[in-house]
């Protein structure tokens, strides 16, 4: 079999993409750092770690262009906080913004032909409850499974009971048991059912979320989850509106459930018990409507029942005899309080929900609906929960404008933190530095490893340019570049040798050079909003390049309009700022019209440490100085028009005709020069002096040596 058709084996070196780093033996996802990320982490950490007795919600407005990395930023912040804070544990509840602001139309039935409209507030609260329960249930079932698999639980009630389960249950059965809980949670089970699972796993006292937790932990977990399940049933309409207790509970029933697969018997019993203690002091304190009182009473009773059943007193039989009718109240006020209650219950159990309302940039004109919503539910959004609103820059600009117009707007107090998601090129490259690294086997020559390092550095610039500073594009690109396992596709040296890559590298280096300008750096550091506009302006020619538009109109009006198109609304800038932007873009374009000059200026910037690169020689070597990437083509009306000569793949926009090539005198001169040197070099280097010249000094030297060889020292005769 011929091997010629097979793919050649990849060399044992190249570049790899490692999205995770190792710290102390743990794999941790590498994040692109930014000031916004640090701020988000600080806010989340403060909220998660605050004392449960102290209220205090936070709302973050996270704005940015599509693909700028808003979701990534919040996800990364949540992930980092989760890794740093094992307990209480942050859970991220994701909510779809467009659906949230569009309540469904009520369905008319025979009994109710004209149902009332569902208000946005009611819909939002119900959605919160549903998503909160589902997220918490998933988190809890994961923790439950982990707890069952952990061979050495620390500080459990005792190792023996769990050991007993383990003796009788194989690993497969433990997994099955965990899976059973997972499926049961899908149906929003009752407290009794949950108790069955926790009891069976010997986690009634210390729970499953935290090793070494206090003895109330298990109860708190069940209370929180059962409360959420109860609320979930109410909001999804699956709750039985009337339920009466049965007298089948008791120690006998409980012992039966030890053998039961579903825990159904105990479920009924405990619900009855919980419902039976309806009139609770909690409800009275809250001064709420009857259904709320019922719920609160149920929760209080449940806690007491747990304690009692654990000690196996007979007192529970007396409480089982009562029955209630539970009618879920889905009015806004009831739902608000239910959500607040759930937040507290979860915090007590060690779960801190963070609500992320995503995709608000896909809502057409979200300003007023969102403002109405945030104002009406302010005490939930700003005072109790942690909500992140992910919007586009239009909303951010509007909020900013309103805040500037009035010093004390309600919006100012709703959004504790407002951030415009943007990354600077240095932080993106630092991130890429962590995730893109060369790999090679021991013994690889130092020249190859140096080339690999230079490849990695060049590729980081290339990817930064390709992403146009949009993290979404960057992550897509990284995925598309990643081949088998973690290996990156670009072949050895191709990040510096492929013309398409070289052009991206060149453009990115030119942008970085403009960013090192003292005035630009100063504006960026002073004004985050304008900083983003500067980036938008500098990447505007690249965006056109990516749209295969050859012409770059850099006139101030056009530039401002195009940046406005990018942000979704006209850009309102003072004339000096407009001129400032145009000056920078023109500086960039002028650099790209003269690549040798760009190379020279980059060299100066690197030597002066204004630009930090690891391998200046190899990096600058990759700038294709001999080609004309961009040219200025002014016309009578507009002197600021430029034209790309090459597309982003490195292919000329205007293909030549064969006559152009044949008549290109410069080309054939170059051809001749190269051909001449190719022929000359081996001949020049082979030149050696002729034998005569080589031996010219030898006879004289030989005579000296010979004379010394024959030289004898007279020592005199013997006496």
């Amino acid at each position: 079999v011929s091997r010629s058709s097979e793919m050649p084996e990849a060399p044992p070196y190249g570049l790899e993409y490692s999205p995770c780093s190792s710290q102390g033996g743990q794999r941790i996802k590498v994040l692109a750092r930014s000031a916004n990320l640090e701020l988000a982490i600080a806010e989340l950490t403060a909220y998660v770690s605050q004392d449960t007795a102290v209220g205090g919600g936070r709302s973050c407005l996270v704005a940015g262009a599509r693909g700028a990395g808003k979701t990534t930023l919040i996800d990364c912040a949540c992930e980092e906080v989760r890794q740093k804070n094992e307990f209480p544990r942050l859970i991220r509840v994701r909510l779809h913004g467009p659906s949230l602001l569009s309540p469904p139309k009520p369905v008319a039935t025979k009994d109710n032909p004209t149902p009332p409209e569902i208000s946005v507030q009611e819909h939002v609260l119900k959605t919160l409850v549903v998503n909160l329960y589902q997220t918490a249930a998933e988190e809890m079932s994961n923790a439950f499974e982990e707890y069952l698999r952990d061979p050495m639980p620390e500080g459990g009630e005792s190792a023996a009971p769990l050991g007993r389960i383990r003796e009788s249950d194989s690993t497969a059965r433990l997994s099955e048991f965990a899976a059973q809980l997972r499926l049961t949670l899908d149906g929003a089970p009752s407290a009794a059912t949950l108790r069955y699972f926790w009891n069976r796993a010997q986690a009634l006292r210390r729970g499953v979320l935290l090793r070494g937790a206090d003895t109330e932990q298990g109860v708190k977990e069940i209370v929180a989850l059962a409360s959420a399940a109860d609320a979930y049933r109410s909001c999804t309409g699956t709750y039985t509106q009337e339920r009466k207790d049965e007298r089948s509970a008791g120690d006998k029933a409980e012992s039966k459930t030890e053998l039961s697969a579903s825990g159904k018997e105990v479920a009924k019993a405990v619900v009855g018990l919980a419902s039976g203690v309806a009139a609770g002091a909690t409800a009275a304190a809250l001064n709420q409507s009857k259904p709320i009182m019922a719920l609160a009473g149920a929760i209080a009773a449940l806690v007491s029942m747990m304690t009692l059943s654990y000690t196996r007193t007979r007192s529970r039989e007396t409480t089982l005899k009562e029955a209630i009718t539970f009618l879920p109240d889905t009015t806004v006020s009831a739902l608000v309080h239910r959500v607040l209650l759930l937040l507290r219950r979860f915090r007590q159990a060690g779960l801190v929900p963070i609500f992320v309302i995503d995709e608000l940039d896909k809502v057409a004109d979200p300003i007023e609906p969102l403002n109405d919503l945030t104002k009406s539910l302010k005490f939930l959004f700003a005072d109790e929960g942690f909500f992140c609103f992910l919007t586009d820059r239009t909303y951010f600009a509007e909020i900013d404008r309103r805040n500037r117009e009035k010093s004390n707007t309600p919006l100012r107090t709703i959004y504790n933190t407002q951030m415009l998601v943007r990354y600077d090129t240095a932080s993106v490259r630092e991130f890429l530095k962590q995730v893109i690294q060369p790999f090679f086997v021991t013994g690889t020559s130092s020249s190859i490893t140096a080339d690999l390092q230079a490849d990695a550095e060049a590729l980081r610039y290339v990817l930064t340019c390709r992403s146009r500073m949009l993290l979404f594009e960057l992550s897509q690109d990284l995925r598309s570049f990643t081949g088998t396992e973690k290996r990156l596709n670009p072949a050895f040296q191709s990040p510096r040798a492929n013309l398409g890559h070289q052009l991206h590298l060149t453009v990115q280096l030119a942008i970085e050079l403009v960013l090192t300008n003292e005035f630009v750096a100063n504006r960026i550091s002073r004004d985050a909003n304008f900083a983003q506009t500067i980036y938008d302006a500098l990447y505007h020619p690249v965006n056109l390049w990516y749209a295969d538009q050859q012409e770059v109109d850099c006139s101030p009006d056009n530039l401002i309009k195009k940046i406005g198109d990018l942000t979704g609304e006209p850009l309102a800038l003072e004339i000096p700022d407009q001129k400032f932007l145009q000056t920078q873009v023109k500086a960039l374009l002028d650099l790209l019209t003269n690549l040798p000059e760009l190379e020279r200026r980059l060299g100066v910037a690197i030597d002066a440490n204004r630009l930090i690169v690891a391998d200046k020689g190899r990096l600058l070597d990759s700038i294709p100085t001999a080609i004309s990437l961009l040219k200025r083509v002014p016309n009578e009306d507009n002197p600021d028009i430029y034209q790309w000569n090459y597309n982003r793949s490195g292919i000329p926009f205007e293909a030549s005709a064969i006559q152009d090539i044949q008549n290109n005198q410069g080309l054939w001169a170059a051809f001749a020069t190269i051909a001449a040197l190719e022929t000359s070099l081996p001949q020049i280097l082979a030149r050696r002096p002729g034998v005569g010249a080589l031996l010219s000094g030898v006879p004289a030297a030989l005579s000296v040596i010979t004379s010394l060889t024959n030289f004898s020292v007279p020592v005199g005769g013997t006496l």
Partner: protein, 453 residues
Amino acid sequence: VTAPNSIPFNPGLLQQYSIVRTSPSWEDVKESMTRLRPLLQPSANPYDQMDLDRDNVLRFATNLESSAESIAYAICLAAHLARFSKTNAFEQRLNDGFVALSTGLDLSSLSETETRSELQRCARAAFPDFEFGLPPLTVQNPVSSVPIQDAAAEPARESPGTSEASEKKGEEPQPARAVPALAQPAEDPWRTALESALSRISVMLPPSMNDVLRKAVDSWQARLTAFLTGSSGQAEIPPDIDYLRCRAANLPLGIVLRGRLRNASLRDWNEAYVSGMSVTGDFASLPLWFALAALGALGFDVPRKLDSASYDEIKAAESFVSKIPTGSPPKGLLILRLTAESQTAEWKISASMPALILTSEDFLREGKANLRSYFQPRLHGVLIEMSRDELPAAAQTRANVNTIKDQLPSVRVGFLMRAQNENAKKMANGVVAVSPADAWEAYTQAFPSPSPT
């Protein structure tokens, strides 16, 4: 000895030695030229990538023209350095000369302009009072326009396929159009000037080796002193021609460190320490002060009290050390690495954690000076690097830990592991660092509590 008419050399090697810029690569350009050549025929067919081929050729020629001086200097210097190589084959000696030049000057880290000025500086040092007088690298009358029919008729420039096609299609005579022809390389004045320079250089008497060594030692001392005392913004003393001569001759003074110390790695400095401490008896061996300088570069303070060294070594070392200001650098680590496949190979120098990384044999070997009392108070601990399947006890035996403990009695001992191994970790009492990225991380993992003062 018969002089060959030519030796295997092509413009790609100029790129490999970082004398001309590497992009576009010679391989690509050669292919582009092969594809373009048939276009000299009047009836040639266009093809998709002819624009790219044109650009490749233009770019490469521009690179060659702008590096013409660099190429000439490099060839002359390589021919000169080849005389210091100890290999027999002429081609190999020439290659040694190019390698010494390229790696010694670290040409790959320089821009085109810097490369030219560095080569020029070295050429002036190697050939004082010598004027090169090089014309630009362009062939004389490079493009002689000839009528298209003549060009097509020239058999040497025909592509078989296109020629045939032109015969078949050539019923209608093409209008006479100017098509370029390739010029003769022999007419190139640049080549003539270079060959003349090479002829004169080849009969020059080489400097005596003693002079070369003496000057190399002097410049090393100046370079190391400047490196250890200079601020980061200060320009370093670049590699000199005597260093390059030693490098071509494969002598320790030419290969111990990179000539550009800012590019020297953790590994380079550790190897310099071992070489500086080694007693070889060779006349060209490294002085002791190389090892002292290496300790300074690694982040330790430079030893000032030396025991057991020879009088000459002590005198030279004291003279060197007297130029280095005293400081109070942080404590560091001694890492007894594996002989092969050490995980420390790619570590970078950690500013906050000096690390001496060498094999236990190298550490325990009787060197030019006894530095036991120097290391004792300057180490947080010793880490023994373990191979993949090795257990701590075996690693301790291999590293001769008892002798190490005798020499450094109050220094803590831990292990450096490549991957998590709970069993081995327990056996090592938890004093381990697992695959750390540098010496600082190794320290924080293995010795979380500060070392006793």
